[in-house]
Assembly symmetry: D2
Homo-oligomer: 365 residues x 4
């Protein structure tokens, strides 16, 4: 059963191996008549591109998006939007050494066990390069969401911890996020991270990170009982990002040691109002109209120069040091991908809601 | 788009409101010829039943499973297995007071915004009572998994923290889990929790908890690239359980402050062997053959006597104290449900793997 | 992969074997707030019930519908509507003789090859009794369609040929359809059929029939490119009815010998108007606003007293005469089922259209 | 809800407009390790290409397939196979005249009503050019089916009637089908059709046709109860082909006037054997091991020079004569497409069967 399709009503299918001809995807279910250009997608795509900074992988790809269908005279047709990005910087020879060895922390061994055959070049299908297609889908999702809920909706992510170094939440400044290479909302912390990651990189190691995603401006009512809860679909989408090992909604693990007292309600300006947002904007799987808040843990990059034990495909023991271009912290490039996954989930649920209920997005008594 | 169906190939659809006629479901995609009886399902079902202990909700339900189809002469037919459990202890009148008020921490407000109409009796569809159907599905899943991978596979969950009180991992004893009311693998901690929860209950409050789930004996190869990763589907399934606010796979959030060094491999007894299991048994979305390890955070019960602010359906401010039967810690009853969700996901992926690849479950060079 | 679910957005899952405990289903994706009662479903259900006439199978079942969930205070909740009908008239002993023989024209042999295990009693899952659940789903679909497109939409079916005896289309009178036991729109032909079928029955044989279905009052715009064309989904739904061997849309097979000239358009009362309806109301897979017209061929009943050659489950040759209650023409009971399948497909496409496009059902320039 | 994906387990998604950049698709769920080359796909693709004969549309396209992913070192990876064919012969200016007029018999009006926006160039998404992607999917399907059931399975289609001219079934010669431009199994009839179509074309008209598809060598057991019956999925797939108006399985409409007597069974060479094949190889939705036989009616080409009445997008009456390149009988190019749809359905059901039942394809007692 194919696993390369995400969401149901607003549906993204992706394809492509890291060192194949191209990476691409198809978004089906897009409402007709929406303005869409390759340029607006390219802008988001450039944010995830490696090579933006000394501390991200210097694979030099232009990552130029080509829209192949579904848009006519600048507007979506309602038919599938296909797109692709050619792989230019193959360097497949670099990977010959990895043909017969399983890299620790990667899917090499698991893929071989599943399929008995794998594209060993740069992780093949398991490469983070596949996430290009997610960013494209997420950008299309944002166009849909703005058409439904207005220009003021926002889906934004930031890194709030790298290794042991957490930002001070009081210093949070969204404007800062695009001003540094780490999507850090705390200017000073960005400088500390730069130093920390340079150190880590020199040691041939890598660091994990925490990403927080905030979706604001969305109405109460998004999400489905009982399996396709908004939080459940967000958890799936976010957990499906390479290297993600944990997902929290709202208070997340802090709920374990909490003692009741959950998000009381009052009226404010004649509108229902929650006094707190422990729930992260979702109750019983359905949005409450508050900010939707998710946090994800990204593990340290698995491809590192540090020498490690592993085995060959012939089951002989060996050691491996992965040299060449690689990021000391993959989370940096995961920020726009996390936003994209949230965008996809919200778009899907928004259209599902409209389909089933007709009227949506307004406060009902 | 319906959200009441889980998994794709081995598929559970559930239905029913807390105070409707019954709770039930349909499992489709079950392999034919497997021995299945209502009795083996009933055993699992009894574990989640309220009323097993002073500290769990005393709603007295026999929760008797009735298998309505799909089994003939004691064996599965390959056609849908439908089942239901009648709701006997309705007490709908208890809920009249809640008709026009939104309970904090519950889905009342969100459901009203989504549908404009809701069954206010005991949470209706959002009630934890719906999870009966999940446990049934999970039990059928275990029968499937044993037929595929042998009797030794295990899916087991335990509570390892309630409120601030964590177990000592060194005291972990799986045999203990079924011996106390809290699915606690640490005998001494179970006693402390009893005291703690009694206290909490007397104060009209409630506590959160941490549940850990271990699936062992499964081969490398389960899970799909790139969206239906095993970890992604586990995250969705676990996050869809009522009151769950976070999911970790393997090291989870501890990955944030880790510095590289990921699960090195050696040969042991002529078999590939991992030196550690930071990944929680899943790499690139596919199982590695190691134990699959998930942790989930369950928030404190939302229905508590503690007086809280809220609003009515007519948008007037009010206060609410939820009296009557309720658990101080919902996580206790969530233990078999967490196992069930893992069982469903693994069954689905096992059959998908067999369908696509034919041969499966053996170590390949 | 489960095959017991029909449609995607407005989704019916059915379950149950002919001689199991019950037949039932779940409809998910129903819009909230629609008035629905067991009574209105029962009325449709009674039309398909055997035992209404000497020439339909005298299995005496009350076929009482029980709605188990999804309706509260007389209105749909938006959550799954589960329902079932108990099997009362089992007579399982009648079927012991069939345990070890494959009935010609039935699925016995095919089921055995697929599953290696089957419920031999009355065809088990392959019994026409399963269609009870389709009729229920179709009735709920009609409630949805009326809420979307107004009370004047109609989905009506009639039998227009039994064996060699065709009605005269000039005598077509819809009011007549409910006045005779054969859903025949031509009063005189109904009398001829009665005589013909009585004859056929006496000879221990059975007859095929042609059913025509008309859906009127629906707007242009229903259906999806390119696989989920409205005609494609109608073909699937109708072909999935037991004993159906062919489906036509509009001119159907007459198109083979036609020479171009297809449904020209003019303006009439300021509205686009088609001069003919060769297309049966569907062009390029999308409805045109004209009547949607389908025809289906139903094969003669396979269970007949006539002696026929067959084999046993042990692969010995034998002969078989199926005695007991059986219809000489199964098409008679298939009329409400055909209507139900069309209702389900239209409901599904209507909600999908609303979800994707928001505005729908009005003529656009 | 997207309608551009076909089948569930072995799944084809297609995209592209007639005069956009390209036509393409993604096949997901392909088993790993199968030999696949662009060349073997190209061969099938060339069969459907226009411009092969004076009587098929002279649009000159090389239709060169580019495989973009999913194949590595000549073998399938198990990950999605993406492919595309560039549109070279756009001639978009030819279509400017059609911008503001609805062509009779085409989807122009229906698309406009659905989406309020359409690509008027050559039918956009509704163009038969989309079927390129189906042929590719079908070819991959055949590779899968051969790997499962052996090299001797065959899926073959032929045209058996054009306009009023039917072949003589006694003259049926499969070898002849590839020897004439009409996929005609009767050499003499092919000559008559040539004359007939030349005539029709000169009159500015077009002709319908009947296509018969035979799938042989497949075991009993393919297909699912109760909605995803093999015949139901075949009906959907075949009816989704442009211009198809009817589908028959086995005897089809001839069943209406039949009098019972259905496919009796005997033993032959120690194997179950059917004396006839009225059912077309499918009983109760599941294959019986006999040849699977489908027939489809294709309507006459809608784009013809013959002057016809129609309306403009501004709702003014007008007349239209479609000049330029067009086929007098679209069915000719539909032959490989019909084969492809059958191949896709059989592949999907084969893998689903293997997933659910494990053992498959052998005769069971």
């Amino acid at each position: 059963m194919p696993g390369n399709t995400f969401c149901q009503f607003f549906r993204l299918t992706t394809w492509g191996e890291s060192h194949g001809i191209a990476i691409g995807g198809v978004v089906d279910g897009v409402p007709p008549g929406l303005s869409l250009t390759a340029e607006c997608i390219q802008t988001d795509l450039n944010r995830r591109r490696p090579g933006n900074h000394a501390l991200t992988s210097p694979r030099v790809e232009k990552d130029e998006i080509e829209i192949l269908s579904g848009v006519f005279e600048g507007k979506t047709l309602g038919t599938p939007i296909a797109f692709m990005v050619r792989n230019q910087d193959h360097h497949s020879k670099d990977y010959d050494a990895l043909k017969s060895v399983y890299r620790p922390g990667h899917g090499d061994y698991a893929y071989q066990q599943k399929y008995g055959h794998r594209d060993y070049r740069g992780g093949g299908r398991a490469s983070a390069r596949e996430t290009i297609a997610r960013v494209v889908g997420g950008t299309i999702g944002k166009v849909v969401l703005k058409s439904l809920f207005g220009k003021d909706i926002k889906i934004r992510a930031a890194i709030t911890q790298i290794g042991p170094l957490k930002i001070n939440p009081d210093h949070w400044d969204w404007d800062e996020v695009s001003q540094n290479a780490f999507s850090c909302p705390d200017k000073d912390m960005a400088l500390q991270w730069e130093k920390y990651l340079t150190d880590i990189k020199e040691q041939g190691k890598s660091a994990g990170a925490l990403i927080e995603i905030y979706a604001t401006g969305f109405p109460a009512g998004l999400g489905e009982p009982v399996f396709d809860k908004l939080n459940a679909d967000l958890a799936k989408g976010l957990m499906s990002i390479n290297a993600v090992k944990a997902v929290e909604i709202g208070d997340g693990f802090a709920s374990v040691s909490a003692e009741s007292s959950y998000d009381e309600m009052v009226m404010k300006d004649d509108t229902p109002h929650f006094l707190t947002n422990h729930a992260g904007g979702i109750l019983a799987g359905i949005s409450t109209g508050q900010p939707i808040i998710c946090k994800i843990a990204v593990k340290p990059t698995s491809s590192i120069p540090q020498l490690r034990q592993t085995i060959t495909t012939d089951h002989a023991e060996t050691t491996l040091s992965v040299t060449g271009r690689h990021d000391p912290c993959v989370a940096i490039r995961a920020v726009p991908i996390a936003e994209a996954m949230v965008s996809l989930v919200l778009s899907d649920h928004a259209l599902r809601w409209r389909g089933q209920c007709g009227t949506f997005g307004e406060i009902r008594k």
